[in-house]
């Protein structure tokens, strides 16, 4: 018995009821960029949104099919699949489901450096009142593990945490034992300038599987200028520490971060080349944070965001050239944004989240037990601004921290979906809200987007990345994807065929 075939119209009747799903749009490179809630985008002809509103898009056209498949519109034939959109959005927000993951312990405020941009108060290297006590450490560990997250990261910070190495040796076994009892995963990172790192300390980190994050601002002249210390040898000590750290802990367990000061602005290629020379495969072109001493010393360290963006673009071009020559070097900020734009996954990066990452993604336990919504929050506190102090480990529990007046005030302006200037921004799903930044720079957590450095930076970086996506140069896209997937770089130019 043979069956019959039926014509197309039997299966694909023309939709009658076209409805819009939440999406944003903007003009970009002579086209219209439409972005849905899950961050999926479509470059469409100018005027597409207007045509949609006027009901003028032909439901038989490929454009309509694109809009529908990308969950920008729906009609009576697509409603059963709205669950799929929900799943995509849930995937993007997956980092929220577990609770706070990153927990920063300020084990001491003391430091032997006196960096111009330092984000916390510098103190003498003499032991004293600026160290975390055992009682405070105990309570902080307990609060950290109260987070519902099945896996937490403990970041040992300062000041210079190695000046309080005995406290590190107290916290590490204690945190591990508590985590074991509560059946939680635990990663430990120490953020150090390495200037005082002895081989014994490095061996301890190796044995305890603690990773190192250090600072490298560029070549010697720049690094030492940005990071003064007695003897003016910060660079030499950092390099020596990096080499010994790699020898003892393994190459991949030592990471470096840079901060861009006004002095850095003219030297982006030298900074990047320094990272290559030192065999690093990631670099984060990071603007200076407008907190702590950076605000006070603005004339020495600060600059306009526009100037930073030139620095970033020039740097990214140089980084792409380095990748083209066969050396893998990923720029971290671009990588984070590309992941948000091009992949179905979300990222856990604290500074580009909505709801904002403060408290949800990171908590900071200061040496004196004060708990802050982010590293930046405690920097403000060092300047007598306690707006983002959620409580103290000796008085509060997780619930009271998250329902404190400080937290609730911040959460209220934590979603860019509901902020003026963000709610209709095409880049909303790639960007975040940052009440702490806006409080620090504009005196208002809500923030004013047209004059916001945060907004200026992200709008421009995202546009810049879209210019590459639009251009779709196969070699550039292969480099970007190699950052996202860890795949090998494309074959070196000129070496094959």
């Amino acid at each position: 018995m043979s069956r019959s075939f039926y014509p197309f119209e039997n299966f694909a009747p023309a939709p009658q009821q076209v409805s819009l799903l939440p999406f944003q749009f903007t003009h970009l490179f002579g086209q219209e960029l439409l972005v849905n809630e899950a961050g999926e985008f479509l470059f469409a002809p100018e005027g597409t949104t207007r045509s949609l509103l006027e009901g003028a898009v032909d439901v038989r056209s490929n454009l309509y099919k694109d809009l529908k498949a990308k969950h920008i519109v729906y009609d009576e034939t697509s409603s059963p699949l709205l669950d799929v959109l929900a799943t995509k959005i849930r995937t993007k927000y997956d980092h929220l489901s577990g609770g706070t993951r990153l927990h920063i312990f300020v084990v001491t405020l003391r430091c032997e450096h006196s960096c111009h941009y330092c984000q916390v108060s510098r103190q003498t290297a003499a032991k004293g009142e600026f160290d975390m006590s055992q009682e405070t450490a105990d309570r902080s560990i307990s609060l950290m593990l109260d987070s519902p997250s099945p896996h937490v990261t403990l970041e040992l910070q300062g000041g210079e945490p190695l000046l309080a190495f005995d406290m590190i040796q107290y916290i590490v076994p204690k945190a591990k034992e508590e985590a074991r009892i509560r059946d939680k995963g635990l990663d430990i990172v120490v953020t150090t300038n390495l200037a005082c790192a002895t081989d014994e300390m490095l061996t301890y980190f190796r044995d305890e599987e603690i990773r190192i994050s250090t600072s490298l601002d560029g070549p010697a002249f720049l690094h030492n200028k940005n990071r003064p210390r007695p003897g003016n040898d910060s660079y030499e000590r950092a390099i020596d520490g990096i080499e010994r750290g790699r020898a003892i802990l393994g190459h991949s367990n030592v990471a470096a971060l840079m901060t861009t000061t006004a002095a850095s602005l003219d030297h982006v290629e030298e900074i990047i080349d320094e990272y290559v020379r030192r065999d690093f495969h990631t670099i984060f072109l990071r603007p200076i944070s407008p907190y702590g001493f950076a605000l006070k010393t603005k004339d020495r360290t600060g600059y306009e965001m526009e100037r930073f963006l030139e620095f970033y673009k020039q740097g990214l071009a140089h980084i792409l050239n380095i990748n083209r020559s066969g050396y893998r070097l990923a720029e971290i900020y671009s990588q984070i944004l590309l992941s948000k734009i091009l992949t179905p996954q979300g990222t856990g990066y604290v500074d580009l989240q909505s709801p904002a990452g403060g408290a949800w993604n990171v908590l900071v336990y200061n040496y004196n037990g004060d708990v802050f919504a982010s590293d930046e929050s405690r920097m403000l506190a060092e300047m007598q601004d306690w707006t983002f102090r959620l409580g103290n480990v000796h008085k509060d529990n997780r619930r009271s921290l998250f329902t404190s007046e400080a937290a609730l005030k911040m959460f209220e302006v934590s979603c860019n979906q509901s902020l003026a200037g963000c709610s209709d921004c095409a880049f909303q799903s790639y960007c975040g809200a940052d009440p702490i930044y806006h409080h620090a720079t504009q005196g208002d957590m809500y923030g004013h987007r047209p004059t916001s450095g945060f907004c200026t930076r992200n709008m421009e970086v995202i546009k810049h990345l879209f210019s590459f996506i639009k251009e779709d140069n196969p070699e550039t896209m292969k480099i970007f994807w190699s950052w996202l997937t860890g795949s090998p770089l494309p074959a070196k130019r000129g070496t094959c065929d």
Partner: protein, 377 residues
């Protein structure tokens, strides 16, 4: 390679499944075997205890027998065959091969325009299930790969769970691939039950032909199929069932191929493999060829875009059923020699081709219709 033969049958009530032997076995070990006498071989007298006898020569016996066999040189010791009442003998398992299949039903809930195995609306579930249960018992050595195919296997209902459970117990190391339209998996309860079997090496191969509901439903000739398949894929993934997506390339699927793989990446990112397959000129395809045909040579740009899109994202992707001489060089690394040897052939032109060793060749039915650009390299 031959899979079927026939002769004159006597004394056969129900179809008999058994393992071929050419040896005179001790009486006690004959229970699972079918004694086969090759051409020129004189049948021995003691035939008691075998499930059936196959013979070229005339053979007078009261046991189940098929004699006057037409062809039989494809039989090997250890093969599993089914002997039908009418003297038809089909090989179900050939011991020396790596790839095997379990054909579970001819029924299907879809009716794809290019189906290579057109469905039949007859209830074959009980008989085929019984046959397959016996086949699984007799498969030795255990196959490396086994494909469960039809028809639509999920139409077996509980019998499918029984078969997979049996496979899990008796052939635990065999890699199972089940070709299904995925629609049944849209029912959470069904998928939960399927997953509860916990077969350790099982992957579903599910076809998806468009990122748009109407286009897909038209190709599979079933309204609502797209929604069910996509929902089914999600249900499967949610329950930890591995899935592969299969796309047959033809004139209806090529235009939105890049959009389709984009849809797969963004909406079905858990898919562990995407197979892009050439059209087979068999089954329904000849009937619908006017609507389906596009020379593979003419879709190389689309294929390169789609493969490139997935490859750059580290999504495993393969091209099946294509000849290397028609594929762009950049696509060669993705081309698999996917055609089973009994379905496979090469054209006279191919004999002087330098790439013959690496090429999958053509389906034997492609003699009647294939790319006009096949040439020796």
């Amino acid at each position: 390679m031959r899979l079927t033969t026939a002769g004159s049958a006597r004394n056969i009530g129900e179809a008999i499944v058994g393992r071929i032997t050419t040896q005179n076995l001790p009486d006690a070990t004959r229970g699972q075997c079918i004694r086969f006498f090759a051409e020129g071989e004189a049948p021995v007298l003691n035939l008691a205890g075998y499930r059936a006898i196959l013979s070229h020569a005339d053979l007078a016996t009261d046991y189940p027998v098929v004699d006057h066999l037409r062809e039989s040189d494809h039989f090997r010791d250890g093969d599993v065959v089914v002997v039908e009442r009418d003297g038809f003998v089909r090989s179900l398992y050939r011991s020396y091969e790596r790839h095997h299949s379990l054909f579970v039903t001819e029924r299907c809930s879809s009716n794809c325009l290019m189906c290579s195995q057109p469905p039949k609306d007859k209830d074959d579930v009980e008989s085929l299930t019984k046959r397959n249960q016996e086949l699984i018992r007799l498969m030795s050595p255990a196959p490396e790969y086994l494909t469960i195919t039809g028809g639509e296997p999920t139409l077996l209902g509980d019998h499918l769970f029984e078969l997979i459970d049996q496979l899990k117990t008796s052939l635990p190391n065999t890699e199972l691939h089940m070709l299904t339209n995925g629609r049944t998996f849209a029912w959470p309860e069904y998928t939960r039950q399927f997953a509860a079997i916990e077969h350790p090496n099982l992957c579903l191969g599910v076809p998806l032909y468009s990122d748009c509901v109407g286009d897909h439903d038209y190709v599979v000739q079933a309204k609502g199929a797209f929604d069910q398949t996509v929902a089914g894929l999600h249900q499967a993934a949610r329950n930890g069932i591995r899935v592969e997506v299969r796309v047959v390339l033809h004139r209806l699927t090529i235009p939105r191929l890049t959009r389709l793989v984009e849809y797969i990446y963004r909406n079905l990112s858990f898919v562990e493999h995407v197979a892009l397959m050439g059209l087979e000129y068999v089954g329904y395809t000849p009937r619908n060829i006017a609507e389906l045909w596009i020379d593979p040579f003419d879709y190389q740009a689309e294929l390169e875009r789609a493969v490139g899109y997935l490859a750059i994202r580290n999504m495993p992707v393969s091209i099946y059923n294509h000849q290397l001489c028609v594929l762009s060089r950049s696509l060669w690394p993705y081309a698999q020699k996917s055609i089973s040897d009994w379905k496979n052939l090469y054209l006279p032109e191919c004999e002087r081709c330098a790439a013959l060793e690496d090429c999958g060749g053509l389906f034997k039915w492609a003699v009647k219709k294939h790319s006009e650009h096949i040439h020796a390299l």
